[in-house]
Symmetry: none
Subunit: 225 residues, 2 copies
DNA sequence: TATGTTGTTCAGCACGGGTTCAGGGGGAGC
DNA sequence: GCTCCCCCTGAACCCGTGCTGAACAACATA
């Protein structure tokens, strides 16, 4: 279940991303209208959260272009409480639901569940990859059903890799999603964590792509490039 | 057994939520008619407590729309003492029972039991987890049938953990559900309670997840993913 | 008022786990 | 082949987190 969050406030963007990830979504994020539009235009998302007040390209415009191009994923728009006309314009442009800021995360999740329910069953809180399953709510990892003991940082990292499996994740991207503040660039902590994870879940599950980063894969059914 | 509480007074909402949780329900809450209607429309509740005087959308309207959409969960409406006509309108709209404010929590619970009894067999007021059973109505705890003496705060905490077993519950989440007001962040009261509980129900039932929180598990049959 | 029960605070301790470092391996490019 | 650079690995360090026993405070009970 892939979700796209287009929101220019970095704090809110981050908060939304984390909440959705914890709920089992694989989340991509954009902070302006142009990037958001491009990502929605090129990747097959299952649901999109779209702020209407965006730099570079207005949210309504983004939505209009998607719909004109035939993108029919469900879109939930976010509006400021006093922007009534925006909301109407958003619906006219093809939004499926709306929420006014500020809002409770639970409500957003409930609405997203409603949007995605018919589309693809139900969102699970566990991510599967090969025999590897990651219980995002219980913070546990199983490999072929057997529990694997991982530390909290290891779990965060594995969870992020799993949310974006088959994609190459750069070291800096991992760092940004594991730590709140950026930290020492010249540290090999990430490599150490990768090493420890490999020792626990199997060497061939985390591929290293030289010069770019790491990729979580299903070791048995190696997909095409 | 899932319950929805739609009540705009935050204090009463919180109080109801807690009472229902202690009675063994999994509770969702909404504070206005729109949200309440949406949640009832999208989630499969077993019983709903609906205040009639609500912002954004009137309670009667909410109920009418649910019934028109085919939602047939039992609904108990709350009315102010002097709003006779509202009550009638509520019944016309499809309410199953009513209660005038103010009311005693016990009476509400009794009526809800009556509502849910026929609908789904019996309301389970005890939560099971391994050999551990928690009588939410009598505030008692048994381990393999033998009673265990716990204090009220210990019970609240264990009850909350049990409602969300196999999930990691953070310290702050525990605090928010045990205490009315937020209190000293830098206090180790939670740890002390965990320690005392462990001493009473067994060390291996409450796992600690370093950096994240605690998790109530069944120690013998470690569940699959 | 005496007494027991329950909630909270405190200090000390143990250990898990994150970080760092040094050294070795092995692609990729020439 | 050689060299460079990136990556891996083992071990050690050390700080923070969480656990524990006990004392203290708040409260109810008799």
């Amino acid at each position: 279940m892939r979700a796209l969050v287009v929101e220019d406030d970095p704090d809110l963007n981050r908060q939304l991303g984390r909440a959705l990830e914890d709920a089992g979504y694989a989340v991509d994020a954009a902070v302006d209208g142009e990037d958001g539009h491009f990502m929605g235009d090129t990747e097959p998302y299952d649901v999109v959260v779209l702020d209407l007040g965006l730099p570079k390209m207005d949210g309504v415009t983004v939505l209009e272009r998607w719909r004109q191009a035939g993108r029919d994923f469900p879109v939930l728009i976010l509006t400021a409480r006093d922007r009534w006309s925006e909301k109407v314009a958003g619906f006219d442009a093809g939004a499926d639901d709306y929420l006014t800021k500020p809002f409770h995360t639970e409500e957003l999740l409930a609405r997203m569940r409603a949007l995605t329910r018919r589309a693809a069953g139900h969102t699970t809180a566990t991510i599967e990859c090969g025999g590897l399953s990651i219980d995002t709510r219980g913070a546990r990892v199983f490999i072929d059903g057997a529990p694997v003991k991982v530390t909290s940082h290891e779990f965060r990292m594995l969870s992020y890799l799993a949310h974006h499996q088959d994609r190459v994740i750069s070291r800096t991207e991992l760092v940004e999603h594991i730590y709140d503040q950026d930290f020492d660039r010249d540290s090999n902590t990430i490599e150490v964590f990768v090493g420890r994870l490999r020792k626990k879940i199997g060497t061939d599950r985390i591929e290293t792509v030289r010069g770019l980063g790491y990729r979580l894969v299903d070791p048995v059914a190696r997909p095409v490039s």
